[in-house]
């Protein structure tokens, strides 16, 4: 029995050795990004191309935009790729990041039950704000991310344009889940509620229930993604060269083509627009 | 074989209290080497307590337990077997080996000593049997063998046959006799007056935590000096 224990212990120690990070093995960078890019499958589509060309592995930590910026501010990532222009500019102004570049956009869409009890269904420019007003008037259930993400920030901007005080309705017809896009869509599907989502997550989302797209095509709903290098002067350990290589590739013709070529069910999810 | 002896064992004014109750009262006594010393007395007389005080498991509240030729902390020269000995969850042989190892005996000598102890207890065939699977009588014999393996000069036994059938009792008594022949002084408690008559060289009679009589066995059994001992031997209830 003692021998068995001894060999067991040896096996464990061996496992422990294997568990140590394989950092020395190859070069890698950590990218803090949003759930929308990870869960839509975009990264899975484009990253292997970059790694093949550069030999740099990209490790994506998918969080909400707010949390991703916080992670980067702590120096726990080399690059951030998020979608909240206002917050991104503040991040750079505060000295946490440098070299912000636009990469691509997708768009937000308003999802709701097929029956559309608030009669919010509409198309095209300027359709979003009135649709939200109708939902508020009907006090139809609306589910919000409530997690300080880029999508959440955009949603709050629309509500304020609509002149609706959602804070007052919180817990009533307005429900904040405090979670990512996917869990929020799950909640909306279960409640037959309205919800603002990014198109990428919606297209790859499987548990749709009775929900469908009600409002789309409003230019106000464009959702710009930017990429920022974490300030190497502030965090000297940041892999600036590898990070810049990634940013250069993303904004290069090659990278932009890779983004454009990603489709789900024949539908393009992200539209490259690097300058 | 032995060039010094820890006996006689001397108790000077030993008292023991627990929970505000005085359980052992000012006992003065001297136990010499020789035939077995048997502690007798009704339940609650303090027999087991006195054994534990002598063995060093309990410290007297007042008074002293003095062994000759020995610093205070050398338990290996006197050992104890409990009424319900605790067997380790391992083989009979390993139980004895464990006790020897605790006393710092090297692996080479241990092997021989384990075999001898098992032989003495008649348990050689059960060497590899898990100790807890042994019968009550076998476990008691193993406990004695384990205590004896370190060759103690004194062996305390607390009611060693209390819950055994007559056949097992006989085997244990035989083993006690063998241990005694090997030169180990036996100090034990028992409830069984027949056993006391069979084994005793001298008797310590306790009652209510006091030492009432301390005499050679023969005169004690034929003519007890005190009324308490007389009543006890007659089978009267005492308290």
């Amino acid at each position: 029995m003692k021998k068995t224990l001894g060999s067991l212990a040896a096996a464990f120690v061996l496992t422990l050795g294997l568990a140590a990070p394989a950092a020395a093995q190859e070069q890698f960078i950590v990218v803090a990004s949003t759930t929308s890019t990870e869960q839509s499958g975009l990264f899975k589509h484009i990253l292997p191309r970059f790694t093949e060309q550069s030999g740099i592995e990209v490790r994506v930590v998918a969080q909400g935009t707010g949390q991703a910026l916080k992670t980067a501010a702590n120096g726990d990532a080399d690059v951030v790729l998020v979608h909240d222009t206002v917050a991104e500019e503040k991040f750079v102004a505060d000295g946490f990041g440098v070299d912000r570049r636009p990469v691509m956009y997708n768009d937000f869409i308003l999802i709701g039950p097929k029956a559309d009890p608030a009669e919010a269904r509409s198309q095209g420019e300027g359709s979003t704000v009135p649709a939200l007003q109708k939902i508020a008037q009907a006090e139809a259930p609306f589910v919000s991310r409530g997690d300080n993400s880029g999508t959440h920030a955009a949603e709050l901007r629309f509500w304020s344009q609509a002149g609706v005080d959602v804070k007052a309705a919180s817990g009533n017809w307005y429900r904040e889940t405090g979670s990512g896009m996917g869990p929020t869509l799950n909640t909306a599907a279960a409640m037959d509620a309205y919800v603002l989502a990014d198109r990428g997550t919606w297209l790859s989302f499987k548990n749709r229930g009775n929900l469908e797209i009600l409002v789309e095509g409003d230019p106000a709903m464009f959702n710009q993604y930017g990429v920022i290098l974490v300030n190497p002067e502030r965090h000297p350990h940041v892999k600036a060269d590898a990070g810049r290589a990634f940013m250069d590739w993303l904004t290069s013709e090659d990278g932009q083509q890779a983004i454009a070529s990603y489709q789900i069910d024949g539908e393009q999810l992200f539209f490259p627009n690097a300058e | 074989m032995r060039n010094f002896s820890i006996l006689p064992l001397e108790l000077c004014g030993v008292s023991f209290s627990a929970g505000g109750k005085k359980l052992i009262h000012d006992i003065d006594l001297m136990i010499e080497d020789g035939p077995a010393t048997i502690l007798l007395g009704p339940n609650g007389a303090g027999k087991s307590l006195l054994l534990r005080l002598c063995h060093g498991l309990l410290q007297p509240t007042t008074g002293q337990v003095i062994w000759r030729d020995l610093g205070r902390h050398m338990p290996k020269l006197h050992a104890m077997v409990f009424q319900r000995p605790v067997m380790l969850r391992r083989s009979a042989a390993a139980n004895i080996d464990y006790a020897l190892k605790l006393n710092g005996i090297c692996r080479q000598s241990r092997k021989k000593l384990v075999a001898e102890a098992l032989e003495l207890a008649g348990l050689s065939d059960q060497a590899q049997t898990p100790a807890r699977v042994l019968s009550g009588g076998q476990q008691q014999r193993l406990a004695i063998a384990r205590a004896w393996a370190c060759r103690p000069q004194v062996l305390f036994l607390d009611e060693p046959t209390a819950s055994l059938d007559p056949q097992a009792t006989k085997a244990v008594e035989t083993l006690i006799g063998q241990v005694q022949e090997s030169g180990t002084k036996i100090i034990m408690t028992t409830h069984d007056l027949g056993q006391a008559r069979r084994l005793a060289g001298e008797v310590l009679f306790l009652h209510s935590g006091r030492l009432i009589e301390h005499r050679p066995a023969e005169p004690f059994f034929s003519g007890p000096a005190t009324s308490e001992a007389r009543a006890f031997l007659a089978g009267d209830l005492l308290w």
Binding site: A19, D76 | R89, D125
Partner: protein, 241 residues
């Protein structure tokens, strides 16, 4: 087909297909949780035994504290370990965040209190039973510690399995300190959380079933080991006889 039915079909397909991605995730899950439990046992068993056998002022408070730590929410542990390992934290220079090592550290923190509590209780009970005998044989409290841990190996195994259960089932801590990075720190539970996010509930539940089978495997292996030990003894006995 119902979601539950689809889930079983998904689980079956995953297992039968020996999906390489699944194999990687299962492998990492086992590696992280088993290592964490092994280290937690290394820390927790002697600590629990010491707590059981020693007496010092404030011992009661320490026991209450360690029992309370059993109820620590994994997310909180994750957050604490994150703050320690973050570049902005005291151990940032070690570059451990978002690595399997960080996940192991978080799970060690989660599991150790369970093992401490089990071993304290087991050793305390054993000391009541064995204490006098061991002292008589010449063992002190300190030298009795390994003996008692060995004597209590069967109930202690239960405690270690409980620890493994907590480690392999938790998602909050490993999500925060591991980051759920594909091929690097994605384990069963974070993969399940991801599939829930993507609304692929059958696949999520399918992965859950695989996790359950995994846990069953570990428990069964432990039971078999215990049985084999007894068998071995029986054989040895027969050989002697």
């Amino acid at each position: 087909m119902s979601t539950i039915g689809e889930s079983f079909a998904a689980a079956l397909a995953l297992i039968l297909g020996m999906d390489p991605a699944l194999r990687e995730i299962v492998g990492l899950s086992l590696q992280v949780s088993l290592t964490a439990v092994f280290l937690a046992a290394l820390i927790g068993l002697p600590l629990g035994a010491l707590l059981a056998l020693s007496s010092f002022p404030g011992r009661g408070a320490v026991i209450v504290l360690s029992n309370t730590l059993m109820g620590l929410p994994p997310v909180v542990v994750g957050l604490l370990v994150y703050l320690m390992l973050s570049r902005a934290g005291p151990f940032g220079v070690l570059s451990l965040l978002y690595t399997p090592t960080a996940m192991i550290i978080a799970q060690v923190v989660l599991v150790t209190p369970i093992i401490v509590a089990y071993s304290r209780q087991v050793v305390e009970d054993l000391w009541t039973e064995y204490g006098e005998q061991l002292r008589s044989l010449g063992a002190g409290r300190l030298s009795a510690t390994p003996t008692l841990l060995w004597e209590g190996r069967f109930p202690l195994t239960t405690g270690i399995l409980a620890g493994f259960g907590r480690a392999s089932a938790e998602v909050g801590a490993v999500m925060i300190v591991g980051g759920n990075i594909e091929h690097v720190t994605r384990v069963m539970t974070t993969a399940i959380a991801l599939e829930v996010s993507r609304g692929d509930l059958p696949l999520a539940l399918g992965l859950g079933i695989v996790l359950l089978i995994l846990s069953l495997g570990v428990n069964a292996a432990t039971a078999l080991l215990a049985m084999a030990t007894r068998q071995e003894r029986r054989l040895m006995r027969r050989r002697v006889a």
